[in-house]
Each structure stands twice: as structure tokens, then as C-alpha cells.
């Protein structure tokens, strides 16, 4: 039972299909306290579906999800966010018509949980200070008054991660954070993710970029056609024949 006590998230036999099309087939995995877990797999392997099920945006057909010792299988997404599961989206979802600072401020835990009581909340300076410190850390402080929709791509990614961290989560899901980035931007992003790691207990990254995964991830899980096909240390997993085949078979070789 040692492994169980270490794991912050434990997923058992998770399945999900859409109109008969199987997206997840009995996936079991754990996220261990303190780690960065990489989730890889060719397009259509079910990685994003997995994140959407675990963060409460899709209901699983079967299986259980346990977070910090609590069964969260059927909780809605907002309740999971309050419990400490934060996420970013594959296609960035910022509040584009709100400012950079507001995007972070809106996630303030007290206000989110008691929205109507916050009408009487007068002194907000401590929340603003916290939000500004977060923006500082993500090199966005000078753009605090910009509309989020006016940010460049890399900045928008950083803001989305900063916003996800504003609610002080313990588990952070990053859904393809490096998609559409060049090498230098990806390098910067890796730095951002590493510094985010200090603020949460564990991170799960979905990513195609093999170099980035090798560098960041403590452990890798590889999925193909809705199933888990490999799990282990990055160098070992990436050398496995079935992993190489899964990538060659659909996407062509990475790098």
C-alpha cells in the first residue's frame, strides 16, 4: 500500500467512448507526489480525453478517479478545481476581453467559492499583490493592463499557466503547452514549467515534443488508441519498440 499513500492521483480502469468510438480503454495510472508525469502518444491516442475526464469535463463510462484519498469520479469540473486540480487547454482559453491582471485575479480562491459574498469584500489589495507577484514570476507584470486577447502566443500560454496556479492547486494538467512553439519558445516554456513545479505537488504534461519530455518528465506514460502501452523512466520508455512503432505508424518520427 506504500504506492497508494504516495500517489496524489490514482486512476483505475477508466473508459470512455463517444457513440461507440472508444477513446479510453481501461486506463489505470498514478500520479506520484512531487513528480512531473509526461503523457505521450500519437494524435487521437486519447490523451486530451483523459485530461477532460479527470478534470470533470467529460463523465467516464467506467472506472474510478481518486484524488488525495478521495473518490472524485463524479464531481463536476468546478468542484475539482476547488479541490486543487487545475488545468490549461490545448487551444488556449483565456478570458480575452479581460485584462491580464483580471485573468489571474478572477481565480482568487475566496471569491470563486463565495461569489456573492464577495460583493461586500472591500479590501482586495492583498489579492492584487499576490496576483502581481504571480505575473512577475511569469514575466507578465509589465503587461498587467493589456487585454488578454492582445497577448502574443507564448505570453498567452504563460498567462494560462499563471492563472491555473492562482487558485493554489496541488495538481496541474498542462494540455500540449508547447504546441505551435518554436525551439526557443519551447525552451523558455520548460523553464516556466520547472518554476511552476515548485508551486504544486505534481504536474501532468501532455506533449509531443520528445526532447522536452526527456528533459522535464520524471516518468512517462505512453498511450495509443485509448490504451496505455508503456510506462516508466523517459529514456527506457522512448527506447521501447512498441512506443517507436506507435509513433512511426501514425505520425512519422518525431525530431
Amino acid at each position: 500500500m506504500d504506492e497508494v499513500s504516495q500517489s496524489i492521483l490514482a486512476v483505475e480502469g477508466l473508459s470512455k467512448s463517444f457513440r461507440g468510438l472508444t477513446a479510453l480503454e481501461s486506463i489505470s495510472l498514478e500520479v506520484i507526489h512531487g513528480e512531473i508525469l509526461g503523457l505521450m502518444g500519437p494524435n487521437g491516442a486519447g490523451k486530451s480525453v483523459f485530461v477532460n475526464v479527470v478534470t470533470g469535463f467529460y463523465r467516464p463510462d467506467t472506472g474510478t478517479i481518486n484524488f488525495g484519498g478521495r473518490d472524485i469520479t463524479h464531481l463536476p469540473s468546478y468542484a475539482l478545481a476547488r479541490l486543487g486540480i487545475a488545468r490549461t487547454y490545448q487551444n488556449i482559453r483565456l478570458l480575452r476581453r479581460m485584462t491580464v491582471l483580471e485573468n489571474v485575479l478572477v481565480a482568487t480562491k475566496d471569491h470563486v467559492e463565495q461569489p456573492f459574498r464577495s460583493v461586500l469584500a472591500r479590501n482586495q489589495s492583498s489579492f492584487v499583490t499576490t496576483a502581481l507577484a504571480l505575473l512577475e514570476q511569469f514575466h507578465l507584470a509589465d503587461k498587467r493592463d493589456w487585454l488578454a486577447g492582445a497577448l502574443a502566443y507564448g505570453e498567452a500560454r504563460r498567462l494560462e499557466i499563471a492563472r491555473a496556479l492562482a487558485g493554489k492547486p496541488s495538481l496541474l494538467f498542462l494540455d500540449e503547452p508547447a504546441a505551435g512553439m518554436n525551439e526557443q519558445e519551447t525552451e523558455e516554456l520548460a523553464g516556466t514549467i520547472r518554476s511552476s513545479h515548485q508551486m504544486v505537488e505534481a504536474i501532468v504534461i501532455i506533449e509531443h515534443d520528445v526532447a522536452m519530455m526527456r528533459e522535464l518528465a520524471d516518468r512517462l506514460v505512453v498511450m495509443d488508441s485509448g490504451r496505455k502501452i508503456a510506462e516508466g523512466r523517459p529514456n527506457d520508455v522512448l527506447a521501447q519498440p512498441n512506443v517507436i512503432e506507435a509513433y512511426l505508424g501514425t505520425d512519422g518520427p518525431d525530431d
Binding site: 468546478y78 478570458l95 485584462t99 464577495s118 460583493v119 461586500l120
Partner: protein, 284 residues
């Protein structure tokens, strides 16, 4: 005469705000004429048949309408856009039909005997609701509502229960419309179900939309202008409705976002736009 203007403009301002409160969370309600009717009749029964004072009856009527609003709103607000609008239209139509069929309140003949509203009641109500909305606009709730309105998925992943937020706003909007309806009925003395048809609901939405829904000052401006215009064009006799319609169309053409739509170009936006455009110019 001046008291007439104050009462009717004031009641319409609160009605416009009742739509605005629901719009803050991103839903458009055509049910507020119905909630107003509930307010008028419930408070009327309480004062005429049970002898309660108006200032007690009005908030009770508001709570009744608010509770009905929440009951209707909970299933309705899970639908979106045009479907939600249709549900709210259905609410307005059914409220009128139900009142018409209740003999206890006079059926289609209407219900009478309500007295007691003075201009000061209405002024106090406008000031009170205005202060509440002003507090809201300065509070974190405004940001949460902005987030729900802009992207419910994004809001949910930040821990915001969007359905709850929308249902409460719907309930508060229903409450405000009913309180306004209570004062309105106790000024007119006699009301009939006909007065609360779907056209009334459409007009209430128009007050808010014409004035602009980007900030709390638009709806009262729209309500005031639309209440007074028919009076100013009285000399046109039978052309009055036509002139009124033409003025509305003109306003929508000249200011499609409403007369007072300044929050979309507030200082923060302007600054953001200048910075981003100058940035683009530099990098070119």
C-alpha cells in the same frame, strides 16, 4: 403630472436593471414582464386582501417571484442562447395566462384597490438598487460574472460554478422586476393581465439594450429615454408608435452597442490597444 413621470421612469429603470442583472451572467431574459406581473398581483393581494403595508408586501412579492425565477431558471439556464430566450418567452406568456384564469384576482377583468405608492418609494428603490449594483461593479463579483459571460468552460476550470451564478442572477432579476411591479400596481390602483403581455417584456429588454449593457448606467438611460419619448412625440397623434419605432431603429443604427457602451472602450482597453498597436508598429 410630474409625479407620474418620476414613478413610471423609476419603475422602468428598475425593470431595465432587472434585465441587466441577468445579462451580467450572460443570459437574456424575456420573462421579466411576467415577474413584474407576479410582483403586482402578489403584493396587491397582500395589501388589499390581507391589509399588509406596501413596504412589507413589495419585498415579499419580490421573494415569491425570485423563488419562481430560481425554480424556472435552474432547468432553463442549462440551455443556452436562443433556446434560453424561448424558455423565458414561455415564462412570460404562461404567467399572464395563469393570472387570467385565477378568479380570486379578477381574471381578465383585472385586480384593483392597490394604493400607496408615492414618488419617494420609487426614488428610494432606484437609489437602493443603484447602490447595490455600484457595489457589485467595484467588487470581485463583477470579474466572476465577466468570466461566466465570456467563457463558461474557462470559468469552470477556475472553480466557478457557472450554473449557480446564473441561477442566482436570474432570481435577483426576478426579485427586482417584482418589486418594481409592486410599486407600479400600487400607483395605478387597478391592473389587468393584458398590461403584462410579452410586448412589455420585449420593451424592458429594449430599455437595457438601447441604453447599453456594458455598464450599470446604460439601462437607466435607455429606460428614461424610452419612457419619455412617447410623451414628447404626443403631438404626432396616430403617428406616435411609428415615430417611436423610427427613433429606436435610429438609435440602434447610430449606437449598436447602446447609448452608454463605454466600458468596452474604457481607459484600460484604450491603453491596452495603444500599447499593442504601437508594439506592432515597432516590430514592423
Amino acid at each position: 403630472m410630474i409625479q407620474d413621470y418620476v414613478v413610471f421612469v423609476g419603475v422602468n429603470i428598475v425593470l431595465a436593471w432587472s434585465v441587466y442583472v441577468i445579462l451580467l451572467a450572460g443570459s437574456l431574459s424575456f420573462a421579466n414582464g411576467g415577474f413584474m406581473a407576479i410582483g403586482a398581483y402578489v403584493s396587491g393581494v397582500l395589501t388589499v386582501k390581507f391589509g399588509l403595508p406596501l413596504v412589507v408586501a413589495a419585498p415579499i412579492a419580490g421573494i415569491v417571484a425570485g423563488a419562481i425565477g430560481v425554480l424556472v431558471g435552474f432547468p432553463a439556464l442549462r440551455t443556452r442562447g436562443i433556446y434560453l430566450m424561448l424558455v423565458t418567452v414561455g415564462v412570460a406568456v404562461s404567467v399572464k395566462a395563469v393570472i387570467e384564469s385565477i378568479d380570486y384576482v379578477g381574471g381578465i377583468q383585472g385586480f384593483g384597490g392597490m394604493v400607496g405608492t408615492t414618488q419617494w418609494h420609487v426614488i428610494a428603490l432606484v437609489v437602493l438598487v443603484g447602490c447595490g449594483l455600484w457595489l457589485l461593479s467595484k467588487s470581485p463579483l463583477q470579474r466572476i460574472l465577466d468570466a461566466v459571460r465570456e467563457d463558461e468552460l474557462s470559468a469552470a476550470s477556475l472553480g466557478i460554478n457557472a450554473v449557480y451564478v446564473k441561477v442566482v442572477c436570474f432570481g435577483v432579476g426576478a426579485f427586482l422586476a417584482a418589486v418594481a411591479g409592486s410599486f407600479y400596481a400600487h400607483y395605478l390602483i387597478h391592473v389587468t393581465p393584458d398590461q403584462f403581455g410579452i410586448v412589455l417584456s420585449v420593451f424592458i429588454v429594449l430599455y437595457a439594450v438601447l441604453g447599453g449593457t456594458n455598464n450599470m448606467w446604460g439601462p437607466p438611460i435607455g429606460a428614461a429615454i424610452m419612457t419619455l419619448i412617447p410623451e414628447f412625440v404626443r403631438g404626432l397623434e396616430s403617428w406616435r408608435p411609428t415615430a417611436f419605432g423610427v427613433i429606436i431603429l435610429g438609435l440602434l443604427l447610430i449606437r449598436p452597442d447602446g447609448l452608454l457602451a463605454f466600458r468596452s472602450v474604457t481607459a484600460r482597453t484604450k491603453r491596452a490597444l495603444t500599447i499593442s498597436t504601437s508594439d506592432v508598429a515597432k516590430s514592423d
